[in-house]
C-alpha cells in the first residue's frame, strides 16, 4: 500500500523572530492507516493538521496528500483538493445551524457539483450507517453532541475522501457521546478508511489508532505503533 500523506522537511513559523511552531518535520501515513497525533497544547498538532488539510502552507518543505503535492497549490485548487480528497471533522462540529442535517451532509457534494439525486443516495446511505437517518430533516441545534458529530462525520465522508482528518472529535462531548464517536472512528478504520486523529485524549488515541505520533515543541517526540505505546 502507498502513502496517503507524505511530509518532508516541513517547517511552519508564525513569528519570524521566534522558534518554528512546527518542524523541521517529516512524516508519512500509509493508506488505510489510523494515526493519532497527540501532544500538549502548543506542540503543533493543529498546525500539522492544517498543513495536511491545505488550510495553511508551510514555510519550508513538501506536503503531499494522495500523491498530490499541495504546498504550492492556489486557493481554488486547494478547495478542490479538500472537497475531493479529504474530509474534516472538528471539535465543535462546525455545522451550519440554518441548514438541515441532510443539507449539511450534502453541502460538500453540492459544492463539488454532484447531481443532487446521487448525492442524496450517498447521504441516505451514510445517515443509515451512522444512525442519524431519523434526524435528516432536523436542524443541528436540536441534536445531541454525539449526533451532531455523527452528522459532521457523514458530511466529511459524502465525497468518499481518501483521508479523514479529525481534530479533537470528542473534545466537546460528554462521556457517552464520546464513546459513540470513538466507536464510529474505529468502525471507519476497520472499513479501510485512512484516519488522522488529533487529540489530547490518550485513551482515544489508543483505542482508535494503530499508531501514535506525539509532538513536543513542533517536533516528533514519539512515533510508535499503539501496541508499543500501551504499556
Amino acid at each position: 500500500m502507498g502513502n496517503v500523506i507524505e511530509l518532508e522537511g516541513v517547517v511552519k513559523q508564525y513569528d519570524s523572530a521566534g522558534a518554528p511552531a512546527l518542524g523541521p518535520l517529516s512524516l508519512t501515513v500509509a493508506e488505510g492507516e489510523a494515526v493519532a497525533i497527540t501532544g500538549p497544547s502548543g506542540s503543533g498538532k493543529s498546525t500539522l493538521l492544517n498543513l495536511v488539510a491545505g488550510l495553511d502552507k508551510p514555510g519550508e518543505g513538501r506536503v503531499s496528500v494522495g500523491g498530490l503535492r499541495i504546498d504550492g497549490l492556489g486557493e481554488k485548487a486547494l478547495a478542490r483538493f479538500r472537497r475531493e480528497r479529504i474530509g474534516m471533522v472538528f471539535q465543535f462540529f462546525n455545522l451550519l445551524d440554518d441548514l438541515t442535517v441532510v443539507d449539511n451532509i450534502l453541502l460538500p457534494a453540492q459544492l463539488a457539483g454532484s447531481a443532487r439525486g446521487r448525492a442524496m443516495e450517498r447521504a441516505a446511505e451514510l445517515m443509515e450507517v451512522l444512525g442519524i437517518a431519523k434526524h435528516g430533516r432536523a436542524y443541528p441545534g436540536r441534536l445531541s453532541g454525539g449526533e451532531r458529530q455523527r452528522v459532521a462525520v457523514a458530511r466529511a465522508l459524502i465525497n468518499r475522501p481518501a483521508l479523514l482528518l479529525a481534530d479533537e472529535p470528542t473534545g466537546a462531548l460528554d462521556t457517552a457521546s464520546g464513546n459513540e464517536v470513538r466507536q464510529l472512528l474505529v468502525d471507519l478504520h476497520r472499513s479501510g478508511q485512512t484516519v488522522v486523529l488529533v487529540t489530547h485524549d490518550l485513551a482515544l488515541a489508543e483505542s482508535c489508532a494503530e499508531r501514535t505520533v506525539q509532538l513536543v515543541d513542533g517536533n516528533i517526540a514519539v512515533d510508535r505503533r499503539n501496541a508499543e505505546v500501551v504499556r
Binding site: L55, K76, R80, M88, L96, D97, D98, L106, G113, G141
Partner: protein
C-alpha cells in the same frame, strides 16, 4: 478596547483603538457626516445671506412695509395723511407728491420707461429713511437725488451730471446732486417738493406717495388686509398703486430663494444617511462584540464605560467629518453668498460664526442619539448572557429560506447566498435600508439637480437667441448715433434690413414699459413683443402663450398678488388709458419679484400708438455662421444708429453655474456615501459570517464560490431596494419640487417637474443592485482570501 489603563482614582478606561481598526466604518461615518454638515452649512449660510442683510437694512432704515400711490386730486392731502393714524398703522410718512418722468436713453432714445420721482425735503421722515450713498440731498429746484437702484435712468447718472426729464429737445434738465437708496425701492429719484409740479406732464393726475408700517405685516395676506384698511379710509379707487416690502424682499432673494430649499434637502438627506449609517455601524459593532463586551464586563467594566466607549466610536470619526464639513461648506458657500453681499453694497458676507458652530453641533447631537440606542443595549447586556452568546445565529432564523433555496436548480453557492439574509433579519434589514435609502437619495438628488438646472434654463428663455439688434447704440461715443447727434434707427426699416439679410430665420421685436393694473399692486413692468414671440416664451405653468393683442401671460406671483387666475380679464392702465386684456397663461418668471406682464406690443397700441421695439432678437437659419451674419448685418445697418450684437447664447449666471456644480458634487457625494453605507453593511454581515464561510471553505468551497455566495446574499436587497427606492425617490421629488418652487413664489413648470428619462430611471433601478454588488465586492474578496484556519477559529 482590549487594553485597560487607569488607576484607582480614574477607574478603568477603554482605549479607542477600535475606531482606527474599523477602517471602512470609520470612513463611512466620517464621509456621511462631512456631506451632511457641508450641505447644511451652505443651506444655513444662504438662508442667512438671503435674509439677514435685507432684514437688518430694513429695520435700520425703517423700511416701508407698504408704499402706496394715491390719487391726490380726488382725495386731498389731509385725508391721505389721516390714513397714517389708522389703528393698524404703527408708523407712516407722507404724503409726498410724486411725478413720472421719462428720461431719454443713450443717443436720446425714448426708453419708454417712466420713472417715479418723489418730492421729499429730507431723506428721513420716520418711515423709509433714504440712505445717501454719495453727494448731498436736493435742497433747491433743478436738483435731483437719483436712486442707485434706478440704473436704467438716463445716459449719465454720475454725480454732477444732468438728467433730461423727457426726450423732447426742450426738456428741462435736473442736476444730479446725490445718489441714494431706499431699502424698499420706493422711488427712482427725489427732488424738493416744490419741483414736483414742474415735473408733472400736462394733464396727468396729481399723485402722492404714502409710506406705512403696520402692527402685523409678515405675510402677503396680512399686508393685503392692511392695504384694504387703508383703501377703505380713502375714496374708492384712490389707491392707484401699492408695493409690498415682501415683493422687494422676494426680488432680492431671487436666486437664494431657489437655492436654499435645495441645499436644505441635501443637508437633511445627508443627515438621515448619517443616522442610518451610524446606527447601523454602532449596532453592528455591538452585535459583533457581544462576547468581548461580556469579557470586559466580567473583569470590571461598568455599563456606563461600555456606553461611553461605543458613543466615542461613533463620535470621533463624526467629529472629524463635521470639522471638514464645516470647512468644505464655507468654501462652497462663498460663490453663492457673494451675490447677496453685493446686493447691499458689501463684499461677500461670509458664513456667520454661529452657523459654523450650530450645524456641526446639531449633527453631532443627532449622531450621538443614533449611536446611543445600540450603545445602551451594549451597556445593558447581562454579563453572563454576553459571555454565552456567540455569533452564530440562533436556531430557527432563516431555516425555512435555506430549505426552500436548497431545492432551487441553482449552484449551491448561489442558493446559500440567496437564503443567508434571512438568517440575520436585522442585519439584512439594515442592508436593505441602506440600499433603499441610497437609491432613494440618488434618485431624489439627481432629480433635484436636474430640476435646478431646468429652473436656470427656464428663467432665461432667450438663451438660444444668437443675435440682437438694438435700435440705438448703448452710449458708444463713436457710434453713428452719437456722430449724427442722436436718434434711434427706424424700427420698420431696420426690421426690413434684418429680414432681407441672408441667414435670417425670424426677428422678434421687444420693448419694455410700466403699466398699472386696475385695482392692483401699482406699477408693474410689462414686456412687449412684436412677431413670433413664442421662440422666447417663458416656461408655462398653466394655460398657453399669448397669440395676439389683448392676451397676456403673467407669473404665478402676479396671480397670487392680484387674486386673478388664468382666464380672468384685467384692465391695464397705461398713460392713463385703460386697456382690457385677458390672462391666457401662467409662466415661470421669478425675475422682478414675479411681477412682469408679457404681451403683444399691439396690446398697448390704444395707449401708445407710436410704440415700437427697442431691439430685435434674431434667430438664424440652420448652418448660418453667427460671426459672418453679424458682420454682414453690421455692414447693412452701418448708416443707421442700429447696433448689432452676437449674444452670449448659452452664457449662464456664474452664481447658477456655481450652484449647479455644487448640486452635482453633493449628489455624487450622496451616492458615494450610499454605496459606502452598503459596503459598511456588507462588511458587518461578512464579518459576522466569517466563521460559516470558513466552514464552507474547509469543506471545499472555492474562492469564486465564496465571492458568489457573498454577492448573491446582497443581490436580493439590491433588487428590492432599487425597485422600491426609485419610486420613493420619484415621489419625494414630485412632493418637494412644488414646495421649493412655491417657496420661491412660483408654480412649477412641467420641464422643472418632469426631469426623469426612462433610461435614467432604469439605470437608477439597476443602481440599487449595482450599489449593493459594488459595496459587497470588497468584503467578498476579503472573505475569499481569508485564511480558512483563522476563520475556523473565529467564534
Amino acid at each position: 478596547m482590549s487594553v485597560f489603563r487607569g488607576n484607582s482614582t480614574a477607574g478603568p478606561r477603554i482605549r479607542l483603538g477600535r475606531v482606527g481598526r474599523r477602517r471602512v466604518q470609520t470612513i463611512v461615518m466620517t464621509l456621511s457626516v462631512l456631506m451632511a454638515v457641508a450641505s447644511a452649512v451652505v443651506a444655513g449660510a444662504l438662508m442667512v445671506s438671503a435674509s439677514a442683510p435685507f432684514d437688518a437694512a430694513f429695520a435700520q432704515q425703517h423700511g416701508a412695509q407698504l408704499t402706496a400711490q394715491i390719487d391726490e386730486s380726488a382725495t386731498g392731502a389731509d385725508r391721505i395723511a389721516a390714513t397714517g393714524h389708522l389703528p393698524q398703522v404703527t408708523a407712516s410718512s407722507g404724503p409726498y407728491q410724486t411725478a413720472q418722468i421719462d428720461p431719454p436713453g443713450p443717443g436720446g432714445l425714448d426708453m419708454q420707461q417712466s420713472q417715479t420721482v418723489v418730492g421729499r425735503s429730507a431723506p428721513t421722515g420716520g418711515v423709509d429713511d433714504i440712505v445717501l450713498r454719495s453727494g448731498r440731498w436736493a435742497t433747491a429746484p433743478g436738483e435731483i437725488v437719483l436712486s442707485t437702484d434706478a440704473n436704467s435712468v438716463g445716459p449719465d447718472t454720475t454725480l454732477g451730471g444732468t438728467l433730461k426729464i423727457s426726450p423732447a429737445a426742450d426738456s428741462p434738465t435736473l442736476t444730479i446732486v446725490g445718489l441714494a437708496s431706499s431699502i424698499t425701492d420706493s422711488a427712482d429719484g427725489w427732488v424738493v417738493p416744490a419741483e414736483i409740479t414742474a415735473l408733472r406732464a400736462p394733464g396727468t393726475p396729481a399723485t402722492a406717495q404714502m409710506l406705512y408700517r403696520f402692527s402685523t405685516a409678515t405675510t402677503t395676506a396680512e399686508l393685503n388686509a392692511d392695504r384694504d384698511a387703508v383703501a377703505a379710509a380713502l375714496p374708492a379707487g384712490a389707491i392707484v398703486g401699492a408695493q409690498s416690502y415682501l415683493d422687494v424682499k422676494l426680488a432680492a432673494d431671487e436666486n437664494t430663494a431657489l437655492f436654499v430649499p435645495v441645499m436644505t434637502a441635501f443637508g437633511v438627506l445627508g443627515l438621515l444617511m448619517s443616522v442610518i449609517i451610524i446606527a447601523s455601524v454602532v449596532s453592528g459593532a455591538v452585535g459583533a462584540q457581544i462576547r468581548r463586551i461580556g469579557i470586559l464586563k466580567a473583569i470590571g467594566l461598568t455599563p456606563g464605560q461600555v456606553v461611553r466607549a461605543y458613543l466615542a466610536q461613533a463620535l470621533v470619526p463624526s467629529a472629524v467629518g463635521a470639522v471638514v464639513g464645516v470647512v468644505l461648506g464655507n468654501l462652497l458657500a462663498m460663490p453663492l453668498m457673494g451675490d447677496a453681499g453685493q446686493m447691499y453694497g458689501g463684499g461677500s458676507p461670509g458664513v456667520p460664526w454661529w452657523i459654523d458652530l450650530a450645524v456641526p453641533g446639531a449633527a453631532l447631537g443627532v449622531v450621538a442619539l443614533a449611536a446611543l440606542v445600540p450603545a445602551l443595549r451594549a451597556g445593558r447586556l447581562r454579563t453572563i448572557e454576553a459571555l454565552a452568546v456567540g455569533r452564530a445565529p440562533r436556531s430557527g432564523r432563516g431555516q425555512w429560506a435555506q430549505r426552500l433555496a436548497a431545492r432551487l436548480p441553482l449552484p449551491r453557492a448561489v442558493t446559500l447566498g440567496l437564503a443567508s439574509p434571512f438568517a440575520r433579519p436585522v442585519r439584512s434589514a439594515a442592508l436593505l435600508a441602506a440600499v433603499l435609502f441610497g437609491t432613494t437619495a440618488a434618485t431624489f438628488a439627481i432629480g433635484l439637480t436636474s430640476s435646478a438646472s431646468a429652473v436656470t434654463t427656464a428663467r432665461e428663455p432667450g438663451q438660444s437667441i444668437p443675435v440682437s439688434v438694438f435700435l440705438a447704440s448703448p452710449g458708444d461715443p463713436g457710434s453713428p448715433a452719437s456722430k449724427s447727434g442722436g436718434g434711434a434707427a427706424d424700427p420698420a426699416k431696420t426690421l426690413a434690413v434684418i429680414q432681407s439679410q441672408p441667414g435670417t430665420a425670424d426677428a422678434i421685436g421687444q420693448s419694455q414699459g410700466v403699466v398699472t393694473v386696475a385695482g392692483g399692486t401699482g406699477a408693474i413692468r410689462v414686456r412687449l413683443y412684436q412677431g413670433h414671440s413664442s421662440v422666447e416664451a417663458f416656461a408655462l405653468i398653466s394655460g398657453r402663450w399669448f397669440n395676439g393683442p389683448g392676451e397676456v401671460v403673467v407669473p404665478t406671483h402676479f396671480l397670487d398678488t392680484t387674486g386673478h387666475k388664468v382666464g380672468d380679464s384685467i384692465t391695464l392702465v397705461d398713460q392713463g388709458v385703460q386697456v382690457p386684456a385677458r390672462i391666457v397663461g401662467e409662466d415661470f418668471d421669478p425675475g422682478n419679484a414675479g411681477l412682469v406682464i408679457n404681451t403683444d406690443m399691439a396690446t398697448l397700441a390704444a395707449a401708445q400708438p407710436t410704440l415700437h421695439p427697442d431691439f430685435y432678437d434674431v434667430t438664424l437659419k440652420p448652418g448660418t455662421s453667427v460671426a459672418g451674419y453679424v458682420n454682414g448685418l453690421r455692414a447693412a445697418l452701418q448708416s443707421t444708429s442700429a447696433h448689432v450684437d452676437a449674444t452670449q447664447a448659452g452664457h449662464l449666471n456664474p452664481t447658477v453655474v456655481a450652484f449647479d456644480a455644487m448640486a452635482v458634487l453633493l449628489t455624487l457625494m450622496l451616492v458615494s456615501v450610499a454605496g459606502l453605507g452598503v459596503l459598511n453593511s456588507v462588511v458587518l454581515d461578512t464579518r459576522e459570517r466569517v466563521h460559516d464561510l470558513g466552514v464552507c471553505k474547509a469543506i471545499g468551497m472555492t474562492p469564486g464560490q465564496t465571492v458568489t455566495q457573498v454577492l448573491t446574499s446582497v443581490a436580493g436587497a439590491g433588487l428590492v431596494g432599487g425597485a422600491v427606492g426609485v419610486p420613493v425617490g420619484l415621489a419625494l421629488h414630485d412632493f418637494v419640487i412644488p414646495l421649493v418652487m412655491r417657496a420661491a413664489g412660483s408654480g412649477t413648470p412641467a420641464q422643472v417637474q418632469n426631469v426623469y428619462g426612462v433610461v435614467e430611471l432604469v439605470l437608477l433601478a439597476v443602481g440599487g443592485v449595482s450599489i449593493a454588488v459594488c459595496g459587497a465586492l470588497l468584503p467578498a474578496g476579503w472573505a475569499a482570501k481569508a485564511r480558512t484556519a483563522t476563520a475556523l477559529r473565529t467564534e
